[in-house]
């Protein structure tokens, strides 16, 4: 049973036990436009909640992707290097960025639920 939580910076984390899959939301990819490159961290890197975890580049912009919660990078999506378009086409699926081991599960409570996030997106667009 997995739940997905969201940040105000439009990252999502799909929680499964003590690990989570991190990516950017459909709204974020639509705002960025065509993604052309992703800079991913190395496996094993320790992330701080709110710290820079990755960089996603479109033709015209480079944006930081922040860690939704603290934790350790277990695995990154190496396919993105050759096929960054996956982030535009399937951000919640094939366009995932990294899998992390959640350091402090209580930090998840500070994030938005699906419903809250949709309301948030509505309020800013």
């Amino acid at each position: 049973m997995s739940t997905t939580r969201y940040t105000k910076d439009h990252e999502y984390i799909r929680v499964d036990g003590d690990t989570g899959i991190v990516g950017i939301t459909d709204y974020a990819q639509s705002q960025l436009g065509d993604v052309v490159y992703v800079e991913l961290p190395e496996a094993g890197k320790a992330l701080e909640k709110g710290g820079e975890a990755a960089v996603v580049e479109s033709v015209k912009a480079a944006s930081e992707v922040y860690a939704p919660v603290s934790g350790e990078v277990l695995e990154v999506n190496g396919d993105l290097e050759a096929a960054p378009a996956a982030i535009n086409e399937d951000p919640a699926g094939a366009g995932w960025f990294m899998k992390i081991k959640i350091g402090n599960a209580s930090e998840l409570d500070e994030l938005m639920s699906e419903e809250d996030y949709q309301a948030y997106v509505k309020s800013i667009s």
Partner: protein, 447 residues
């Protein structure tokens, strides 16, 4: 004023249309007490003829390279530039265009940049090259910063054969950004032990070939040692024409190659503008500074070119940019591309052989002068003389005799304790008469 089309009547009409009374109403945000009321203390406007007279007089006080036997090199070289080059770079559409941010109406610039990048990559034996940097020295500075980004280390090792101005640029930049530099002492005979200076903290090793003394250096072992320690080899050159004849850095394991491209297509210009060349391995492309031109297609599927990977640049990344550089060396880069296209590899190789042959002939001739030693073994078109007197004084004395005989190394590095070394270059422009004049003058000066 001949450059200003508006007439006094135009100006009045326009002010009326805008809805203000005087021009200074448009400068209302300038604090009133700071608005100048009197013209500044500079001369009034001048016609073309007067300007030509003033600047012509200044130009006349300089000794032009083509008017004397000329052997000055050390980072800038006197070569013949074909007439076609200067004609084409003065075409309005090249001269008066801007950075090609509107690719639909800048395919001319973009296509030659793509050709230039390909030429530079081929010459250096590397995978990719950028659309040029300001000059060789700033390219070297940027290469060191790039190596720091790639290796996430902050110590550069500079060979004692690196042009002292290039070393100074790297040192200034590193000092300012808090990075470490280990500069080896001047190395006229290319026998320094640079391998010993490479350790696990080293980000990069910067080695020039041909070096500032003219020595050709084999970089293979340096590359091996650098790579074994996780460091990069940055190969530098100041005489791009050497690449017509000498093994390219890419074939000797270099990770980044930087150099001065002035020799192809560009005049001496008293030091600038020149054109910095910058090439690297494919895997480092996203860490490269400067502009890059890439191939793509337009909405109808026709091939076209655009500036690409621009997210590395300052106008997007701001304080996270790979470099603060905003300009390349557009027209100088075009001059390079045209000259290189005219030469082709056969022309380049032949021209390089002419340079080398002239330098060999000069070295042999100067070696006959009593007290003079040619200390450079393997060289391209530049070598070093050890003189029995202070080289700076010898150069002045030669100049008095109408021969510009080279660069005293002390001019580049006064504290290097090399006051007796003279750097001498010879290119295709030198004739038998030039050589004879040099030998005769040097004999007299040293007598």
């Amino acid at each position: 004023m001949r450059y200003l089309p508006l007439s006094p009547d135009d100006r009045s009409e326009m002010l009326a249309k805008i809805g203000v009374d005087t021009i200074d109403d448009l400068f209302a945000d300038v604090p009133a007490e700071k608005l100048l009321t009197e013209p500044l203390d500079l001369p009034r406007r001048k016609g073309e003829m007067e300007v030509e007279r003033i600047l012509g007089r200044m130009a006349g006080r300089n000794v032009a390279a083509s008017t004397v036997p000329f052997f000055v090199g050390a980072g800038a070289y006197k070569h013949h530039v074909p007439a076609t080059v200067d004609h084409v770079i003065q075409r309005s559409e090249f001269l008066t265009s801007y950075t090609p941010y509107q690719p639909e109406i800048a395919q001319g610039t973009l296509q030659y940049l793509f050709e230039f990048q390909t030429q530079v990559a081929a010459l250096t034996g590397m995978d990719v090259a950028n659309a040029s940097m300001y000059d060789g020295s700033t390219a070297a500075g940027e290469a060191v910063l790039m190596a720091h980004r790639v290796t996430k280390r902050r110590k550069a090792v500079l060979s004692g054969g690196l042009h002292p101005h290039y070393a100074d640029v790297v040192e200034t930049l590193s000092h300012m950004s808090g990075d470490k530099v280990v500069s080896l002492p001047a190395d006229p005979r290319a026998d320094e032990d640079i391998l010993a200076a490479i350790d696990d903290e080293t980000s990069c090793v910067v080695v020039q070939t041909p070096d500032v003394f003219g020595n050709l250096r084999d970089l293979t072992k340096i590359a091996e040692k650098a790579h074994a320690h996780g460091a990069l080899l940055i190969a530098a050159f100041t005489e791009v024409m050497s690449l017509g004849l000498v093994k390219p850095p890419g074939a000797m394991g270099a990770d980044i190659v930087v150099g001065e491209g002035q020799s192809i297509g560009n005049s001496l210009n008293f030091g600038g503008p020149y054109v910095g060349l910058f090439a690297a391995r494919q895997k480092f492309v996203r860490q490269m500074p400067g502009r890059l031109c890439g191939e793509t297609v337009d909405a109808e599927g026709k091939r076209g070119f655009v500036l690409t990977l621009s997210t590395r640049e300052q106008h997007i990344r701001r304080d996270k940019a790979t470099s603060n550089i905003c300009t390349n060396s557009g027209l100088c880069c075009l001059a390079f591309t045209i000259h290189m296209t005219l030469l082709g590899q056969v022309g380049l190789q032949r021209l390089a052989r002419v340079n080398h042959a002239n330098a060999v002939a000069l070295a042999d001739a100067l070696a006959t002068v009593p007290g003079v030693e040619v200390i450079t073994g393997a060289f391209f078109n530049e070598f070093t003389l050890k003189l029995p007197k202070d080289a700076a004084k010898v150069v002045e004395a030669l100049a008095d005799k109408g021969v510009l005989g080279g660069v005293p190394y002390s001019r580049l590095a006064p504290d290097a304790d090399c006051d007796d070394l003279l750097l001498v270059a010879s290119t295709e422009v030198n004739t038998d008469d030039d050589r004879a004049a040099y030998v005769a003058a040097l004999k007299e000066v040293l007598a």
